[in-house]
Symmetry: C2
Subunit: 510 residues, 2 copies
């Protein structure tokens, strides 16, 4: 058994059995060990951002980390954007990054660079120093990824540590469990939320789980408080029978309007709401100084336990407010008709990976009353998350249909994910919202005071010259595709795509 | 004038007038300033690695930095792999990375991360702190990029520094010039190279310039020494009338064989030769302890000046050794027939961006006797450099035909560069070497002792299931393409592609 075998065996024993890989020379002994293992699945991505985004999607759906296998500093760097999203989603992810052999580092060969400096901004990092400690470091890395609430953990593996002899696997290490919220904090929150105009603000996977939103609904019914959630969530459970915690709108002035009449805010797993970006003349905070903030449970706490304890103390069962029901629309394809129709047609038990950006607005209105489904959002703002995340979700949940509702500009960053969908025959329907622009930036240009953008500013936010042909892009990667610009045609194409096995792409031209 | 205007104006005055951009919200005021400037060209990339690779290609061809415009940490991270290549190529590159407004950093909004930690591994970094110092920091960043021999320099720009008022542009700062090599070092090298079995080892843009290789050839003629160069060079000048400094072969045992009978080695702009990767049972060094190494000139020195001084002292004019002449081959397309045919047909004054990896072997043999051309190589080993680098080279040299000789596996990392070629109507012929495998990794697997890879190891190095359809990929981005699997058909397609304006793609199926 070499170091690589000891790492793979340790990981399998700790419940990590999927590896999203884009290896190079320094990882060949790890590849050989994957080859020898019967229990670790290896999935190839053509670009590292596919691997890291897939690991994020997998971790969101299972609560367990997948591993990524990446090639030194530059290979790891290609995966950072989606690791940033995973970090903000508090998703457990384990990265295995091959490095030069320990004794070869000093030679500063061409691919050598400071991997720790690259990895630190996305989470926990350890540099292994030899085969005899690789299994132990592997177990520690997995535990680190699972420390509550979950995080990105990176293990840097020298090539010689993988090929030198090792004693055997290490036993799994117990991660840090969520802390129990004490009764005093629950009592304090109960008192606060009973006050006129109070708002309960949810954030994180636990608070937005079915248990979390059900407990929050009982609290709201019992106390009269309002329930809201962070703008972008790792994971939402939606369905006609489920309570909703509406997300805070994206732009800060909208957020201030939404929260303007809140007398006070209690955080449950959420952070204090802040503006996504800073704008001239506006503060970072969404809340005013006269709107006190208190915390029921932080991200590291047992948030559901705290919500349920609070609901048991002050809650009451109550009906769910009626919500707009989506029916398929008709006519030319617009943001409104696309979102409404998609919401009307998503199948029961679907997973929707939502990186539709500006095109998602209408869908987001209808999603809470669509068929029961799980929605995964863009937590870190690093675009190019949707298609890889859909790969990971589909591998995590082979029995659930996945729809990637994807903005075109963002989708281009990691379009190579389409190939992995084809190779692995994943049941993913990709809906590309082809408005052929960085529409959000056109809005932001206007917000920056550019009333009439000149040709350069227009050029830097426009994707129509030449237009991207997404059907050809899908074909390039072995995914059947079709293009539609009419709502009925979209509905028919989406129904057909759902009925076909394997991935399908629909370019919805807006 | 706001800070953004002061930066753009400073840069134009310092000779930086091309910006490869993939901006986001925090860069909107910089986009507005680009819009107002009549002298700065802005080129959009659909992925940040396209922008940084293009800046590398531009810098290699002009000796002047282009700027990149990137969006916070995750956007910058997407550009790191090609910045790593630029770092190893010693290319001057300037990065402008937008960050949160100074007063918004503490809010730790979703896209916030430690950009300095990401940027340090690729070079010089400065974090600007306000509009009043932005022009000065901009001038310092440009100078830092041009400090001999050239490097990647990153300026982190808070959004408020771009939008707040500024006094005006800053005057250009003088970069550190190459150091003159003193006469004693030249005299010592002259003595060493006159000894039996001595080898002159060239590295870096200066040593491999036309002046550099001509001086080295005179030195070799006068002293009888051998001339070699580093395995991967930023830039080579090739042509029938030019001397050649053959590159050290890639694998270390081949390198040892090549240098085995060298009695001593003198470095000119080069680093001591080391193995690209460490292999079990092999040292890092290519040279033995009994092969002394001395230095004529380091990378920061005036390498050409030193070579010419040395040539003036001990050199002699001499004929150039005959080299194999390439004629178009015929028959089925193979690594040999493709490389030979391409070398036979590349047009006079071409720029060849060579990221053909294993498929490049035959071409590399014939390139020195092909028509006069410039070749740009993969200096840092971070794959996905070729297509972006071709974009930058074409924008730097609009009158020169560019051929991107591109491995398929590597090309997939930054295929979005095809769109920028189409949008900017760049005269680039892309030749995709479609062997549908990570062939180098299949070789490395064997070197790692895996004689018979199992399905997982084969799967992780194989791109044939499904095969990538590069003609459809080109079509997706607005580039006309054709697929060939016969040498005559390749020759015809290449000739046709050269004759057409704008980009063309040829998928050469091997």
């Amino acid at each position: 058994m070499d170091g690589a075998d000891s790492l793979i065996e340790t990981s399998v024993q700790a419940g990590v059995d999927v590896c999203f890989a884009n290896p190079g020379t320094t990882e060949m002994h790890l590849v050989a060990a994957l080859d020898r293992s019967t229990r670790m699945r290896a999935v190839l991505g053509l670009f590292e951002g596919v691997c890291t985004g897939a690991a994020d999607g997998y971790g969101r759906m299972t609560g367990r980390p997948a591993a990524t296998l990446l090639h030194l500093g530059p290979g790891f760097a290609n995966g950072i954007a989606n690791l940033h999203n995973a970090r903000r989603a508090q998703t457990p992810v384990v990265n295995w990054v091959g490095d030069q052999a320990t004794w070869h580092l000093a030679a500063d060969a061409p691919l050598t660079s400071d991997i720790e400096s690259l990895a630190r901004p996305v989470g926990w990092v350890r540099s292994n120093t030899g085969a005899e400690t690789l299994a132990r470091d592997g177990a520690d890395t997995i535990a680190a990824s699972l420390d509550a609430p979950g995080r990105v953990a990176t293990l840097i593996i020298p090539a010689d540590a993988a090929w030198e002899a090792a004693a055997g696997p290490a036993r799994p290490k117990k991660p840090i469990e969520p802390r129990r919220v004490d009764d005093a904090a629950v009592a304090a929150a109960a008192e606060t939320l009973a006050l006129e105009g109070a708002c309960l603000f949810l954030g994180g996977v636990a608070a937005l789980s079915e248990s979390g939103v059900r407990a929050a609904h009982r609290i709201a019914t019992g106390t009269g408080c309002r329930v809201l959630s962070e703008t972008f969530s790792s994971r939402n459970e939606f369905g006609p029978e489920l309570p909703v915690a509406p997300p805070l709108p994206y732009f800060p002035e909208q957020g201030r309007e939404t929260l303007g009449d809140a007398s006070r805010v209690v955080l449950a797993g959420a952070r204090e709401p802040v503006s996504f970006f800073g704008y001239a003349g506006q503060p970072s905070a969404i809340l005013r100084d006269d709107q006190p903030i208190s915390t029921l449970a932080g991200a590291e706490d047992n948030v559901v336990g705290a919500l349920e304890a609070l609901a048991d103390r002050v809650g009451a069962e109550g009906p769910i407010a009626p919500r707009p029901q989506a029916e398929p629309a008709t006519g030319p394809l617009t943001v409104g008709s696309l979102g409404q129709t998609l919401a009307a047609l998503i199948p029961e038990n679907a997973i929707v990976v939502n990186e539709a950006a500006t095109t998602g607005l209408a869908f987001n209105v209808f999603a809470p009353s669509a068929a029961r489904h799980t929605s995964l959002g863009l937590t870190g703002g690093a675009i190019g998350q949707g298609l890889p995340c859909a790969v990971g979700a589909a591998i995590a949940c082979p029995d659930r249909p996945v729809t990637a509702f994807q903005a075109d500009g963002s989708g281009l960053y990691t379009m190579q994910a389409l190939w992995t969908m084809a190779r692995e025959s994943l049941d993913v329907v990709v809906v590309i919202c082809a408005n052929r622009a960085y529409r959000i930036l056109q809005a932001e240009l206007a917000r920056a005071g550019v009333a009439e953008p000149g040709p350069k500013a227009m050029g830097l936010t426009d994707l129509s010259n030449p237009p991207i042909d997404w059907v050809s892009a899908a074909k390039a990667f072995g995914v059947p595709g079709t293009s539609v610009n009419d709502t009925d045609a979209f509905a028919a194409a989406y129904r057909r795509a759902l009925a076909e096995p394997g991935p399908q792409l629909i370019e919805a031209v807006l």
